[in-house]
């Protein structure tokens, strides 16, 4: 691992290793492309300095083949790096299906994490190693950005929208967590750490944490309190579509457009329900904007996710 001035950057995931290899290889290409230019500028400046008696006959003013080749060859070499880096970029945007969902709410100036079993923590995120983890993130105010250098990953966190970040930590340790998008007065202090633990240690850590019940349980309580079931009763013959098995399925909207029912869709359906009306239903659902906060939206979404795992049942 690179160590500079006592500084070293740990590789906490396989992706981190790949990024380091990519940076290393590209740095070599930079040397290959820039080295000759710098060396030649110095060499020419010395060899052909004014007053020195050297042969300056037949100095060329143009050479189309030379110009085309020094344009095309570096470009092709760089295109190779483009392909590799784009593939890596796609892979960090495609979380595996079994990833452990953690919801993240950012606000000036703190991070709030919620584990699927309901435990929540501020500014520190504990994760098990070897287990893919998917963060579903939103902000309550301005744009923030969650950055973990040891994972070589960052993703902006937007108000009014969900963004995702997933990773599989491979090495236990405590790593820096930063906010990297300038977000106001205390931007520099909006950080903390990611603690990657052996699965067993993670399990026992989790069991010592107070939990207000899992997100889905809290969501179920809220679902009853808000009276959602009055319309979304189940079989889809009532005023509103059934939510059973909704999460992850394709929904046909009024007008024929299809959309995947993901977290973003559920959020929009709660806060701006009449923008995406399911085909065959009337736009009669009231908005819950202002009535419930981001964390409650996430609880309801967790409950609706759970409905998928037990089709036809209402826990």
């Amino acid at each position: 691992m690179l160590n500079l001035f006592g500084l070293s950057l740990p590789q906490a995931s396989a992706h981190a290793q790949h990024v380091d290899m990519l940076i290393g290889a590209f740095s070599l290409l930079i040397l290959f492309l820039a080295g000759p230019v710098i060396v030649l500028i110095f060499a020419f400046a010395i060899r052909y300095r004014r007053g020195k008696d050297v042969n300056r006959d037949h100095a060329p003013n143009r050479n189309v083949w030379l110009e085309v080749s020094w344009t095309i060859i570096p470009f092709l070499l760089i295109l190779g790096f483009f392909v590799v880096s784009a593939k890596m970029f796609f892979s960090i945007h495609e979380p595996p299906a079994d990833a452990m969902p953690i919801s993240v709410v950012a606000k000036q100036w703190m991070w709030k994490f919620q584990h699927p079993q309901g435990q929540s923590e501020i500014n520190t995120l504990h994760v098990p190693i070897g287990q893919p983890v998917k963060l579903t993130m939103t902000s309550q105010d301005v744009i923030h950005s969650l950055y973990v250098p040891a994972l070589r990953l960052k993703q902006d966190v937007l108000p009014g929208r969900y963004t995702e970040l997933w990773f599989t930590a491979t090495r236990p340790g405590t790593y820096h967590l930063f906010c990297s998008q300038f977000c106001g007065l205390d931007h520099a202090t909006m950080g903390g750490s990611v603690v990657a633990m052996e699965p067993g240690a993670y399990g026992s850590w989790l069991s010592t944490q107070a939990s207000g019940g899992s997100l889905a349980t809290a969501g179920a309580t809220l679902y009853r309190k808000l009276g959602c079931g009055a319309c979304h009763a189940g079989d889809g013959t009532t005023r509103a579509p059934s939510l059973n098995g909704l999460y992850g399925s394709r929904v046909t909207l009024e007008g024929g457009r299809q959309i995947v029912a993901d977290d973003q869709y559920l959020r929009d359906a709660l806060l701006d329900p009449n923008a995406q009306v399911t085909a065959g239903y009337k736009p009669i659902m009231p908005t819950y904007r202002g009535l419930i906060g981001e964390e409650q939206v996430m609880q309801l979404a967790a409950y609706i996710r759970a409905m998928k795992t037990v089709p036809g049942e209402h826990p």
Binding site: L4, F5, L7, H18, V19, L22, I23, F26, I30, L33, A34, V37, I38, L40, I41, F44, A45, Y48, R50, G51, N55, R56, D57, A59, N61, R62, N63, L66, E67, W70, T71, F75, I78, F81, F82, V84, S85, A86, M88, F89, I92, V142, I143, Y147, P149, R152, L153, K154, D156, L158, P159, G160, R161, T163, F178, S180, F182, L185, H187, A188
Partner: protein, 553 residues
């Protein structure tokens, strides 16, 4: 003396384009303040810009110095969080809009374009003066924002922070940039019309100096991109003052819309800063090497290519913003494409030196410094264009280092190169060449010591815009601050010896560097109307005589 020098001297005598010596210099044509403030002479307006942007540079550099001193310790050695945020916002706003964008075009473009194409003035001299007043109006708003306590959004003004949450004088600062934008647009229009309509007989597009080509490309960007910025800033003001829901999702807006609009202007703006710098270097290198520029047409067309493709890459600032990954992939590809015309220029400058007769003077040393720093900035820019690398180093000091290599290492170094090359023409005095070389070397070393450690900091994960940081980053920050001291000295020296030369410098001849180009055929400093008779151009650009057969004028 070299053969090249002798040939040039003989050619100068034979040159048919000399204006009579009794013509009055533009500097002596009226000494009252009024004669300066109401002038429509493009050369005097250039001097007005020179004085005002030097002032802005000093303010913005002071902010930078405060930031670097603050970062000497992990807890912040000098400023509060608020003070630091306001310092980097002012540093960015003033450096970008009141120094980098106007520097080379408004000072040297204004001064040189009419001289280089054989015209008596710009196409719209009054509009030219109006542009300066508008620019100063924007400057006053900036200073007002500063005096009333500053702005705390960063120069990028990302929403909804700027439109809803920030506590500083955001509206004043946005108005400042809005006003300065109009100055840019008017200057751009003036350049385009001047270059199209006022070229002397025989000054075909193929005989235009590359300095003029790059300013033509720059003017296209100014005219096409700046209106997008000005409208965007108005929208932020509308949301901030009247609560119109444009960018803030709580009001029904889109938080990313601002970034798209902002970077649609601000990425091309990088080329507004660097294309004129490339134009300067394309003049300095052949003049120092006394040799025709290698591959004239490749260099000329690459300017237009940069201007056009530069409009298609704004999304590379947004790879981690939440925009679609397919969009990011396209922007990544196009960003790699735009590097091609830039690389062409670098290779061509290098090839120009081959078999040249190179004068290692201060102007050339600055040009060499530009090439080295620009190459470094450009290639690290490619790293940022590669998606997986950008995700890691985005919004860290790696990005800070990269764009300072382009904008400060590139644009400012070329600006100093231009200053040393055309100073004798502008003021009719020679400066101390030895001090000039010392300054060029100091700037190059100081710059690298300041900003190279920031690449390492960024790779190690140090985010930008932090007034305090984890202690392990301290060593590199201290190194960087030390470099900044050296760099500051390199910038301060020219201020001293150039001002000294105004009174005590040796009088400059019409063509002290034995360079080609119409500006060197008029006396130094030029007379008010530039050319007594409209010159007729019969020569190719950069037709430096090197071998026996091309020496006959």
């Amino acid at each position: 003396m070299s053969r090249a020098g002798l040939h040039d001297a003989s050619r100068e005598e034979a040159a048919p384009l000399h204006t009579p010596a009794e013509a009055q210099s533009y500097l002596n044509d009226g000494n009252s303040l009024r004669s300066w403030l109401l002038t429509t002479d493009h050369k005097r307006i250039a001097i007005l810009y020179l004085i005002s942007i030097t002032g802005f540079f000093a303010i913005a550099a002071t902010a930078a110095a405060m930031m670097r001193l603050n970062l000497l310790t992990p807890q912040g050695a000098l400023l509060t969080a608020e003070g630091y945020n306001r310092a980097f916002t002012m540093h960015g706003v003033i450096m970008v809009w009141f120094f980098l964008i106007p520097s080379i075009p408004n000072v040297f473009g204004n001064f040189l374009i009419p001289l280089m194409i054989g015209a008596r003035d710009m196409a719209f001299p009054r509009l030219n003066l109006a542009s300066w007043y508008i620019f100063m109006g924007g400057g006053l708003f900036t200073l007002a924002a500063l005096i009333f306590g500053g702005v705390d959004t960063g120069w990028t003004f990302y929403t909804p922070l700027s439109s809803t949450y920030a506590n500083g004088n955001v509206v004043l600062a946005l108005s400042a940039v809005f006003i300065a934008g109009w100055s840019s647009i008017l200057t751009g229009i003036n350049f385009i019309v001047t270059i199209h309509k006022l070229r002397a007989p025989g000054m075909t597009w193929g005989r235009l100096p590359l300095f003029v080509w790059t300013h033509y490309a720059t003017a296209l960007i100014l005219v096409l991109a700046t209106p997008v910025l000005t409208v965007t800033l108005l929208l932020v003001v509308a949301e901030r003052l009247f609560g119109l829901g444009i960018f803030n999702p709580a009001l029904g807006g889109d938080p990313l819309l601002f970034q798209h609009l902002f970077w649609f202007y601000s990425h091309p703006a990088v080329y507004i800063m660097v294309l004129p710098a490339m134009g300067v270097v394309s003049e300095l290198v052949p003049a120092a090497a006394h040799k025709k520029l290698f591959g004239y047409w490749f260099v000329a067309y690459s300017s237009l290519a940069i201007a056009l493709v530069g409009f298609l890459v704004w999304g590379h600032h947004m790879f981690v913003s939440g925009q679609s990954m397919y969009a990011s992939t396209v922007f990544s590809f196009l960003s790699l494409v735009v590097a091609v015309p830039s690389a062409i220029k670098v290779y061509n400058w290098t090839a120009t030196l081959y078999k040249g007769s190179i004068a290692l003077n201060a102007a050339f040393l600055f040009a060499m410094g530009f090439i080295g720093l620009f190459v470094m900035g450009g290639l690290t820019g490619l790293m940022l264009a590669l998606l997986a690398i950008d995700v890691h180093v985005h919004d860290t000091y790696f990005v800070v280092a990269h764009f300072h290599y382009i904008m400060v290492g590139g644009a400012v170094t070329a600006y100093l190169g231009a200053m040393h090359f055309w100073w004798p023409k502008m003021f009719g005095r020679m400066y101390n060449e030895v001090w000039g070389r010392i300054s060029a070397v100091l700037v190059f070393i100081g710059f690298n010591v300041t900003f190279f450690p920031q690449f390492l900091l960024g790779y190690m994960g140090m985010p930008r815009r932090y007034h305090e940081y984890p202690p392990e980053f301290q060593t590199l920050h201290v190194l960087s601050t030390g470099g900044a001291g050296l760099l500051g000295l390199g910038y301060a020296l020219p201020l001293i010896y150039l001002l000294y030369s105004l009174r005590h410098g040796e009088p400059a001849s019409a063509n002290p560097w034995k360079a080609t180009g119409l500006e060197w055929t008029v006396p130094s400093p030029p007379p008010t109307h530039n050319f007594e008779d409209t010159p007729i151009v019969v020569r190719e650009p950069y037709d430096y005589p090197l071998s026996h057969d091309s020496s006959i004028a």
